[in-house]
């Protein structure tokens, strides 16, 4: 079918019907062929998050894994430009040399899939737009994208944005690409905003099982001027052996009583300011009335890595939900899941990770309904094998779906890229 492309550009196709272009011109050539032949294709990177979303009905795959490498890194300009499929690990290592980081914090889906760390690629991560624990302070993945290059569904090489923070030249297409699950553009280059790495960090751990108190503390933390950069609640529940991994195994630290429900509050900066912030928070949150411990920097860093690696749900065979709600309404959601399912709450009360056993698939619909009633949204990150009923992976209403179809048409009129990955018809 693609002999012409192969002949002209020597693009390798393996026995799995996967193409491996080496640059954006080759990507463009392949997509032009696909466009002419109305043939859809699944875009893949390094397959770390391909279990998220609907299965695409494509006979062939286009791997962008060879389009990798750092293009330009200017620490003093606070940006790094990389080829789309550069592994995030490489980007992080490079930034580390200059004491910089990707401030949005990466959620490591490797543990869910294979039981070990694998953060995947820049393009793959951007396509999901799932920010880690620092989200409520510094913004999401989409807030850290300055520009991109890629190939649209017609095979045209396009670019948007640039390398500077202040830029209002034309539509901000970077935002659309973030969270589009590869349905709009095959990304070949991404420019990311980077920020100085915090000098140190500590985590205050508050032990409580009182959900109303947890909610109140989240509220006070988000109203504080002490610059809290992480606030997570990890409950000691449910007492149920069906879950393979328990939190005591994951959160094992000298200064953490891991068999209790606890709230972790992270502060960052130099040592003096960390102490200043801890002191202020002690007062603001009236922590002297509660049981607390402090994780120093050596425990704090791995603690937040564990929070962001979803290790607590290691290789789960159950359903895994990602739910985002307005923080003030989180108590309503808690009331519906507490003591029933394994869950934890990140983003200072906004983000819920919930595991639903395969025997209770029907509960998903109920939780989704409550989520929508309180103004939130729910994504089914992983479906259990027994998941056999009709339920959309993403939350979408009719109007948004209609507009999504139009946006898709604007980039990919013949629905070449990942058709149906997000919604039917998109």
């Amino acid at each position: 079918m693609f002999t012409e492309v192969k002949k002209n550009s020597q693009i390798f196709q393996d026995s799995d019907k996967t193409y491996y272009p080496e640059d954006e011109v080759q990507v463009s050539n392949i997509v032009k062929e696909l466009y002419d032949k109305n043939s859809p294709i699944e875009l893949v990177g390094t397959n770390t998050k391909n279990f998220i979303g609907n299965k695409t009905q494509c006979a062939e795959r286009l791997s962008l894994s060879k389009i990798s490498g750092i293009v330009e890194y200017l620490p003093e300009e606070l940006y790094i430009k990389v080829k789309g499929n550069t592994p995030l690990e490489i980007v992080e290592k490079e930034l580390e040399k200059n004491n910089q980081e990707l401030a949005f914090e990466i959620v490591d889906f490797g543990f869910i899939k294979d039981g070990k760390s694998n953060k995947g690629t820049v393009a793959g991560y951007l396509s999901c737009n799932f920010a880690g624990s620092r989200r409520f302070k510094v913004g999401s993945v989409r807030d850290h994208i300055l520009g991109f290059r890629g190939v649209n569904g017609k095979g045209d090489i396009i670019k948007s944005g640039g390398t500077v923070v202040k830029n209002v030249t034309g539509y901000d297409l970077s935002k659309l690409i973030a969270g589009a699950f590869g349905t709009l553009v095959a990304l070949t280059e991404v420019t990311l905003k980077v920020l100085p790495k915090q000098k140190s960090c500590s985590t205050i751990v508050v032990y409580t099982e009182e959900k109303k108190l947890v909610n109140k503390l989240f509220e006070k933390i988000s109203s504080s001027s002490s610059d809290v950069s992480g606030a997570v609640f990890i409950p000691e529940e449910p007492k149920n052996e069906r879950y393979q991994y328990n939190k005591e195994r994951v959160f094992k630290f000298n200064d953490l009583i891991s068999n209790k429900s606890f709230l972790g509050i992270r502060v960052e900066g130099d040592k003096v300011s960390i102490n200043e912030k801890i002191k202020a928070l002690n007062q603001e949150l009236e922590l002297d009335k509660l049981t607390t411990t402090i994780l120093d920097v050596h425990q704090s860093i791995p603690f937040w890595k564990k929070v962001n690696s979803l290790e607590i749900f290691n290789q789960t065979n159950n359903n895994l939900l990602r739910i985002v709600v307005p923080p003030s309404s989180s108590i309503k959601l808690i009331q519906n899941i507490e003591n029933k399912f394994k869950y934890y709450i990140d983003w200072c009360g906004s983000l819920f990770w919930v595991e639903i056993p395969s025997t209770k698939n029907d509960k998903i619909k109920e939780i989704k309904k409550i989520t929508q009633e309180i103004g939130g949204y729910l994504t089914i990150i992983k479906k259990s094998e027994e998941f056999d009923f009709e339920e959309t992976i993403f939350t979408v209403n009719e109007t948004r779906l209609l507009i999504s179809e139009k946006i898709k048409k604007g980039f990919d009129p013949k629905r070449i890229f990942n058709p149906g990955k997000m919604y039917r018809g998109v």
Binding site: K159, T169, Y171, I403
Partner: protein, 498 residues
């Protein structure tokens, strides 16, 4: 100014204007439909006052349903629509068209909900930027984006333009500070995106709308994030004997890992102009002045100020003052905020440019502009949002001298092209509008622009919403791209522009 090419007037619309007026008066209160030339005159321009156009009519709906019905009607009758917020935009984004209905959101002026629990404010688009902060400041909160026109500019306009301000490096622009919007598409469809949650699922329509300059939808509601005031805010005022040393210091501050809340640069011409105008007490012997503002906890701010001082000393600063109290901090800013009116007092006219460049190219850009100033024999004063590389050169000239006007235009175009050559962009925060429309091809090739036009077409297939803006009509790089102020006759002359 150069002659402006606008979309061809649709004679069919003009010929049925009475029918259009009649129907619009059925959709909304007839008192809110302005058609008499005296009534619509105030709407013939936005803050890019050099260009004027008379709209077909001005409509002032009072709720989302009315906006939807107006758009539905115009969509059906193929009538163009130009949305307008407070009209403070500097790039002509709200410039009316003779055959278009001007849709003013002026009556959408209420804050709908203040939600301290979720740290957000739900507001109608006509509320001013500062109005949001005013509504929450009693509890120690504020809305972060602070465009210089914040006293008058509307939040809907801020969303449409993705407005920034002096604190963008640390706190982002509008797109990073909104949680939700309600938009009405050209066919009348009402769509709510986001809400009180962080992020949203699916295509980020809010991110697309933000900065789309009124071409994709009409914003009828916004939910914006509010932040708690920092514990301490302090500033440093630093003079440098050369442009290079000051530019290098600014660059080194960022590369050392400091993220200032604001960092501003002024060159010698502007130091003198503003000091004469506002008596801010700036060091007049300096070639370049740097204002660095830091916020955070007490010890954090003191430590960072110490680091900033050391960097500046290492780069041979000629003067260094740290604010001892809030009054002194505000006095550091007084001159900077008077930059535009100070230039207005120095020459009959000035053009304000708006480009962005990489921070490390600050010194190179300033020296280039200095050379261009000699080449064109026109004085220029420069201010930068140095934290984010946003450059505002102010070219002073006499508009009554046609030859001088032409030279100014050429000078301005060369500055923006220099920005692109140095790795920057043609507009950092004023928007493209009609002003820099033809310069889009300096940054984008035909495929890039076509992609953007394809999105426009998919959401507004008849190209009725704010046509003739942002994208080149001529598809050639014209000698345009600045704000022209003649004898202080700027629209909103009282607004500080920085």
């Amino acid at each position: 100014m150069s002659e402006l090419v606008l979309p061809k007037i649709d004679e069919a619309t003009i010929s049925k204007k009475e029918y259009i007026f009649k129907n619009l008066s059925k959709i909304i209160n007839p008192e809110n439909v302005l058609t008499h030339k005296d009534e619509i005159k105030p709407y013939e321009t936005d803050a890019l006052a050099a260009y004027t156009q008379t709209p077909l009519a001005v409509v002032m709906p009072e709720n989302t349903s009315e906006v939807s019905n107006i758009l539905k009607f115009c969509h059906k009758e193929n009538v163009k629509v130009v949305p307008r917020g407070a009209g403070t935009g500097l790039s002509g984004g709200a410039l009316p068209l003779n055959d278009a209905v001007l849709l003013s959101l002026g009556k959408f002026n209420k804050i709908l909900e203040i939600d301290f629990e979720n740290k957000c404010v739900v507001t109608q688009p006509g509320v001013t930027n500062l109005g949001i902060t005013d509504a929450v400041k009693h509890k120690g909160f504020y809305y972060a984006p602070d465009p210089s026109s914040q006293l008058a500019c509307s939040i809907g306009g801020n969303v449409a333009e993705n407005s920034g301000g002096v604190h963008s490096l640390k706190y982002g622009t509008t797109t990073n500070n909104i949680l939700g919007v309600e938009i009405v598409m050209m066919d009348g469809t009402i769509c709510r995106v986001g809400g009180k949650t962080l992020d949203q699922e699916g295509y980020d329509l809010m991110g697309l709308i933000c900065g789309s300059e009124g071409l994709l939808g009409v914003i009828t509601e916004a939910t914006v994030k509010i932040l708690k005031n920092p514990q301490v805010v302090k500033a440093a005022l630093i003079g440098f004997p050369t442009i290079e040393e000051g530019g290098n210091a600014a660059s080194e501050i960022i590369s050392s890992g400091i993220v200032p809340a604001g960092m501003e640069i002024m060159d010698k011409a502007l130091i003198e102009a503003t000091d004469n105008f506002s008596k801010a007490g700036y060091p007049r012997d300096a070639e370049l002045l740097l204002i660095v503002e830091l916020d955070g906890t007490v010890s954090e701010v003191d430590e960072l100020l110490n680091q900033v001082s050391n960097i500046c000393k290492k780069n041979n600063c000629s003067s260094l003052k740290l604010s001892k109290n809030e009054k002194e901090r505000l006095s550091f800013w007084a001159g900077r905020k008077a930059a535009f009116p100070a230039c207005g007092a120095m020459a009959p006219d000035y053009y304000c440019m708006d480009g962005s460049i990489p921070r490390g190219k600050l010194a190179e850009a300033l020296l280039e502009i200095k050379n261009l100033s000699k080449k064109y024999n026109l004085p220029v004063a420069n201010c930068f949002h140095a934290g984010d590389g946003n450059l505002h050169p102010l070219i002073m000239f006499d508009g009554s001298n046609k030859e001088e006007l032409k030279r100014t235009e050429e000078f301005g175009a060369e500055i923006l092209k220099t920005c692109v050559r140095l790795g920057g962009v043609i507009t950092g925060e004023h928007g493209v509008g009609v002003e820099k429309r033809e310069l889009m091809c300096e940054m984008f090739n035909d495929k890039d622009i076509q992609q953007q036009l394809d999105i426009k077409k998919s959401l507004d297939e008849k190209n009725l919403l704010n046509p003739g803006k942002v994208y080149p009509i001529l598809r050639k790089c014209a000698e345009e791209g600045r704000v022209h102020v003649h004898r202080g006759e700027e629209k909103f002359p009282d607004l500080p522009r920085f």
